[in-house]
């Protein structure tokens, strides 16, 4: 069993910095996902781990063994790192059969033919391809090819498995079953896994811990629950699917609670916070999911209710999205199937007045991160 240690990792390509400064400790047997938008340096980090790139600075060890150190000018080439890697393009060798592809690492490790054949067959059976051993690898479907690639990466029981968006070329259904298979093999073999993806759902479903990266730096590191419920920055909130990330101002601080006003409106909101980070008058950001916004008709007067007008709606089958204008601020809300009955046919028509209820424990306070980050990349829509 071995974990992975990355310290002060930096990778430059000429004048471009792909990875700025990454520190990461991965425990033996842990499954870690690297999550982030395109170009944030996930692949580069993974390739540095694999030994396919030489980092500019930093240290990497796998298990107790250092495999890279810029200071000591130490570099262990990929073939000696005892890792397995699954590539986005599957990277099966087209001139070999399925069996030869999977058996190649064993052949290089000089495992005797009989043992090797047994191991190959064992792994192919695990990925349900036991009857395809003698077919040419590229004659298989995409999903089957990726399973062969998985078998090949695991065949000589590497201590560390690396995945670079292995499922992004597959359709949604296949992705789900492959995901399960990857996690299953990870648990069974007790490997340490590092998994690169830009799909937050995939990261949350697979990993023990998720690393959110942005522009070559780690933005937040935590368990899926932590990231899903308590993102630490507007960037992470947006990336974890918080549809509303809005600028706000702290009006007063109560024990375990903040009262904030949405910037540009007189509306007040309560939210849970016992960090004690903020004081009255601070400019912050608040984030909440559209699913946590309840839409009500009529004039409730309870506190923590925002009054606004419907701008647009769109029907999604199991739910309906509603974009509501609250004093010039657009808030995305969602009405679930079970609540459809609460509304008349015209109640959510554009221009109608509605109330929005957001419970205090679903609102996350965040540092006002300069610009309203990536939320602004999508045009305001429903």
């Amino acid at each position: 069993m071995s974990g992975v240690r990355i310290a002060g990792l930096r990778k430059e390509y000429g004048s471009a910095v792909a990875v700025q400064d990454i520190d990461l400790d991965i425990a033996p047997g842990e499954f870690v996902a690297l999550l982030g938008p395109s170009g944030c340096g996930k692949t580069t980090t993974l390739r540095c781990l694999a030994g396919l790139e030489v980092p500019t600075r930093g240290e990497i060890s796998i298990g107790e063994k250092p495999v890279f150190s810029a200071e000591k000018s130490l570099f262990v080439p990929p073939e000696k790192r005892k890792i397995g890697m699954v590539f986005q393009s599957y990277a099966l060798w087209p001139h070999m059969t399925v069996g030869a592809n999977v058996g190649y690492p064993l052949k290089l490790a000089k495992v005797d033919k009989k043992t090797a054949a047994g191991q190959v067959q064992d792994l192919l059976q695990r990925v349900h391809l036991g009857d395809r051993t003698s077919q040419m690898a590229v004659a298989l479907s995409g999903g089957q090819q990726q399973r062969v690639a998985l078998a090949r990466a695991m065949v000589n029981r590497p201590a560390v498995m690396l995945f670079d968006e292995p499922l992004s070329n597959l359709d949604a259904k296949l992705r789900l079953s492959m995901r399960a298979q990857i996690r299953e093999l990870h648990d069974e073999f007790g490997t340490t896994s590092v998994y690169v993806t830009h799909d937050q759902e995939e990261a949350i479903a697979l990993a023990d811990r998720v690393v959110v990266m942005n522009a070559g730096l780690i933005e937040q590191l935590g368990t899926p629950t932590q990231l899903y419920t308590r993102p630490a920055s507007a960037f992470v909130a947006d990336f974890m699917g918080f549809q509303n990330v809005l600028p706000a101002r702290v009006e007063s601080v109560l024990p375990g609670e903040l009262v904030v006003s949405l910037t540009g409106t007189p509306s007040l909101l309560r939210l849970h916070d016992d960090s004690g980070r903020w004081g009255p008058g601070d400019e912050i950001a608040i984030a909440f999911r559209s699913g946590h916004v309840r839409v009500r008709i009529g004039d409730s007067t309870s506190p923590g209710v925002l009054r606004g007008r419907v701008r647009r709606t769109s029907y999604l089958g199991s739910s309906q999205r509603v974009l509501v204008d609250v004093g010039g601020v657009a808030i995305r809300a969602q009405v679930d199937e079970g609540e459809f009955a609460l509304f008349g046919p015209d109640d959510l028509a554009p221009g109608r007045e509605v109330d929005l209820e957001i419970s205090a424990d679903t609102i996350v306070p965040l540092a006002a991160a300069g610009a309203p980050v990536a939320a602004s990349t999508a045009p305001v829509g429903v």
């Binding site: 570099f75 001139h95 490790a109 090949r152």
Partner: protein, 588 residues
Amino acid sequence: MSDIETGGDVATTAKPRTARMPSTGPFTTARGLLPLIVISLFLFALPIVMLVVGAFRNAAPGAPAQWSFEAFVRTYTDPASYTTLGNSVILAGSSTAIGVVVALVLAFLVTRTTTPLRRLVTPAMVLVVALPPLFYAISWGMLGNPTIGLINTVWKQLSGSGDALFDVNSWAGLILVVSLKNAAFAYLLIIGPFRALDRSLEEAAQVAGAGRLRTILGIDLVMLAPAITGVTILTFVIGLEAFDVPLFLGTPAGIDVFSTQIYSLIASRSPADYGGASAISLLLVVVVIALVLLQWRILGRRRFTTVGGKSYRTEPWNIGPWRWVGAVFIGIYLLVAIVAPLFQLVLGSLQPYFGAGTVYSLANYQKLLTNHTTVTALQSTFFVGLVGGLVAMVLALTLVYAITHNETRLRRLLDMLTWLPYAVPGVVLSLGLAWTYVSLPGFRQLYGSVFLVALALVVAVTPIATRAIQPAVIQINRELEEASRVSGAKPGRMVLGIVLPLIMPSFLSGWFVVAIVMSGNLAIPILLSSSTSPTVPLLVYQLYGQGQTSQAAALFVIMLVGLLFGLAVVAVIGRILSRRFGRTRTNR
């Protein structure tokens, strides 16, 4: 694969103090590229440097000499030099004009019309380009012989006149024969852009009311203008560099071009005027490099193939009775470029002496195959073609692999170096190589041997070899290589186990092309071979010069048959390999 181990053992050898930038593979760093740069400088750049040096020395290669401007001044004040320059420009210019026009007409007939015979054109053009220039030199030298050539004997019989219709040893003959090959060359370069032309533009013009012919002239030619300009320059360069045909057909008529002039300054002066030959070579090199740079500028180094958007089939144009005119045009080209020369060559080789009426026998072949000199020449030619070709391909593969896997600026230098021999005509290259190898202690002993000729030919064909292997190497998905490294393969093992098998079909066909070009080359052995170890082309030239035309023809036929046999073998291997790797293409 000289430096393949670099990546392998850094982990164990790296010590804190001998800090050296580690690398992931053999050629990824500037340091890894260095051995190849040194080799390339030696092979490709040094001969040109030595040529410059040679132009300013007053003795033959290897002899003690002083620096002198004498040869330079003599050459550039001699009016004969400018006559030669004029002749070269006339030959290159007219053969380019004819060649490009013929190529355009043929490309148009093939891609746009329903002309009969159009499917024959592309394979025929490949054949014409593949056949050595020497083939055209000797076969047309026989075909257009004023007294006993096939053309004139047939003409005399048909017309009853006693006068020859056509003497190939003339400006007309020279231009005609050089044009034949230039047309094929231009055609193969222009057919890609022709196919890639975006037809929707053409249709838009037609909808706008332009006639079909007008569309072709107004839209297609304008769209193709950069490609046509590039092809024209390239063809002109090839015309300037022509050697074999002017040597066989021009020299008897007293027409000297650059390359033959350079040769005669060395071969028919006593003592040989190496200084003058080098000085005049430099002018040619400068002109050619200027033209190549011009062509790169125009095409932006795109390889002629990126003209348009999507190409989709539209109905070929039915040009009515004109298609018969087109068919006749194609027919005439095939006749004069392939059928007639081949027929004359074989016919002549069967005559006891050239022009000996209608007595045919295999006597020449028997004589040649029992003669020690010719058998040795055949052996050394096949050695040069096969072994030299293999060396050239391995060198080219190493260079291309390094260039595509390196991320430093040095790779551009290496890329430029591999192009250098292309900018230097064969005779000039062999002169430069003569200067180089004679001046180097270890190589001087090799002078005149078949090994040196092979080495020189490797240098000469490197541009062709690298272009043959490059697309295949570029196409390999990098992740296939990386997957192999991660699986535990050292770089060398990865190349042997993954890269080589994947590029094998291109490697084999490249090897074959290179072998043909090397075996058929006359310009290199003519200056570098000694008379005791000639290659076939040199022997063919000597026999032809001695009036042993039939034997020269027979010897050439033997070589062609040998190459054809090689082609068959390669084709079979290629077929087997492509069946094995046939599914490669369906991989995404």
